[in-house]
């Protein structure tokens, strides 16, 4: 019920948005990157005050990163997925930290693993990795097997180091 109402409002306010509501309790919205933060602000003003997660997908063939914001409400089963795409060459996006406070940690993770800079996020310091100077490891062009071979086969075995 709530889903239909919010869908209609989004269609009026954000006419470019592509909305998919075929799945039960899920609303998938694809929107241009310039409007994504405004859409998040609008959703928050309509009571969707809970940011569940931010996921990032590397669509290397299209040369784009897709950011997926999962938005919800505490007492509503409806989950809204806001998807937006940014260019892989200019991996920069606006931070959602002013809308949802906990976006900070998710953006920090994406910054480390995908190398996307979030403008306005004050604390994009490394989260998991230490002294990392390769390309961000979760990008599709990072080859884990090659990395393991180069890093660990260079370490001599006990016999060799004698």
């Amino acid at each position: 019920m709530m889903g239909k109402e919010i869908e209609r409002e989004i269609k009026i306010l954000f006419s470019d948005a592509v909305i998919d509501s075929t799945e039960k309790n899920r609303l998938k919205i694809r929107i241009k990157k310039d409007l994504a933060i405004y859409l998040l602000e609008f959703l928050k003003s309509r009571g969707f005050n809970y940011l569940v997660a931010i996921s990032c997908v590397d669509w290397i063939k299209e040369g784009e990163f897709e950011l997926v914001y999962q938005i919800g409400k505490i007492d509503d089963p409806l989950r809204i997925m806001v998807k937006t795409r940014i260019s892989r060459d200019r991996a920069e996006f606006k931070s959602a930290i002013n809308v949802y406070k906990n976006a900070q940690t998710y953006e920090r993770e994406i910054h480390e693993l995908f190398g996307i800079r979030f403008e306005g996020n004050p604390r994009l310091i490394p989260l998991f990795l230490e002294n990392w100077n390769d390309i961000p490891p979760f990008r599709k062009d990072f080859d884990t097997r090659k990395y393991v071979k180069e890093t660990f086969e260079g370490i001599p075995t006990l016999e060799e180091s004698k």
Binding site: N25, R26, V52, I74
Partner: protein, 367 residues
């Protein structure tokens, strides 16, 4: 940093730390001025490694993201694959899944009680809790062949049916645990020591909890009846009756009490499932894993793990491997922003207390 402040490393080698995790504290006297969570000791890059393996090969990976409660991890992954591949699961399998999930919730909560009681120095209670957890692990071993990691829930159902006499063993265990509840209460939950040590510690308000992405007992301890088993029922949860226990204060005392009440609800759910357990097949045949291509698409599925909302965003590009896997684990939010927030202004001696009451599990943060 002023000259009166001191930097203190809490973990990963620290007696009060539960797992491979560390916090850097700035302290002034005994008071924490600032805390920075420092995860990464268990970062194995599972989400990336899963992109190299096919849909079924990933099961031994997902369970390793949460050592204490691996079944909810398997469940969420199986649900996502079933959703993308449009597989429906036999009724009996759904009931068995519910029983397994609730048993593992019990095991996880008992583990939590062990950690909390141990931290308070109530070792007797800690050993009781650990012993009962071990009985659950025995049941798991009989059912699935493994004690800690099970790899039992698979797309389309569960791997095998219950062994003969298993229902009675589960019932006997629940009766034994139920008979022990008064002693647990007397020695731990109603213990004055527990009250004095936990009341008012790590207090979070309702607004802050929502703002910082809290789930599970952290939300239920501020009075919100938020439980995915109720809001969006999966497995057989729609067919059983249970309550969602809540508390109002939002401190460590409330969180541990919510856990205690939840264990009673879990036991009731298991009994109802055993009673209603339908006959029939326990799995639906899926294609050869090496030739199994799942149509392109994406799905967000979620379950209520013992720590809170466990979500999975799974993307398929039409191939025989996932294109992208992203787990939304409850400890990621509880262990970084919320922990940092609650530690600010707290006493050094409460660090372990706050961390254990938030139920932070390090492998879930790092993945």
């Amino acid at each position: 940093m002023s000259r009166r402040e001191l930097e203190l490393y809490f973990g990963p080698q620290h007696i009060g730390m539960v797992g491979n995790f560390s916090i850097t504290l700035s302290v002034e006297g005994d008071t924490i001025v600032e805390a920075r969570a420092n995860p990464g000791y268990l970062h194995r890059g599972f989400e990336k490694l899963m992109e190299y393996r096919n849909w079924v090969q990933n099961f031994p990976m997902v369970c390793r993201m949460n050592v204490v409660e691996p079944d909810s991890m398997e469940m969420v992954y199986a649900m996502a694959v079933e959703k993308l591949a449009e597989i429906d699961v036999p009724e009996r399998a759904q009931y068995i899944r519910t029983i397994v999930l609730e048993l593992s919730r019990l095991a996880s909560h008992l583990f939590g009680c062990w950690a909390y009681a141990n931290m308070l120095g109530l070792d007797t209670v800690a050993q009781w809790a650990m012993a009962y957890r071990d009985f659950i692990l025995d049941l798991f071993e009989e059912l699935m062949g493994g004690r800690v990691y099970h790899i039992y829930i698979c797309p389309g159902g569960v791997r095998r049916d219950l062994p003969q006499g298993f229902e009675d063993k589960v019932m006997n265990f629940l009766k034994a645990l139920g008979n022990h509840v008064p002693e647990f209460d007397a020695a731990f939950f109603n213990n004055r020591l527990f009250y004095e040590r936990a009341k008012g510690i790590g207090k979070i308000s309702r607004e802050e909890a929502i703002e910082l992405g809290a789930t599970g007992q952290v939300l239920r301890a501020v009075g919100l009846q938020y439980d995915i088993r109720k809001i969006e029922p999966y497995a057989a949860y729609a067919n059983v009756n249970f309550d969602v226990p809540t508390r109002e204060d939002g401190d460590a005392y409330s969180r541990i009490w919510v856990i205690r009440d939840e264990m009673l609800q879990s036991a009731s759910i298991i009994m109802q499932c055993l009673e209603k357990l339908p006959q029939g097949k326990v799995y639906k045949r899926t294609p050869n894993p090496f030739k199994w291509n799942i149509p392109a698409g994406d799905a967000y599925v979620r379950v209520e793990s013992s720590r809170g909302e466990l979500g999975l965003y799974l993307v398929s590009d039409g191939g025989n491997k996932p294109y992208r896997v992203h787990f939304r684990t409850p400890s990621f939010m509880h262990g970084i922003p919320i922990l940092e927030k609650l530690l600010r202004g707290a006493n050094i001696s409460d660090v372990g207390n706050i961390m254990i009451s938030l139920y932070v599990v390090a492998p879930e943060i790092d993945r």
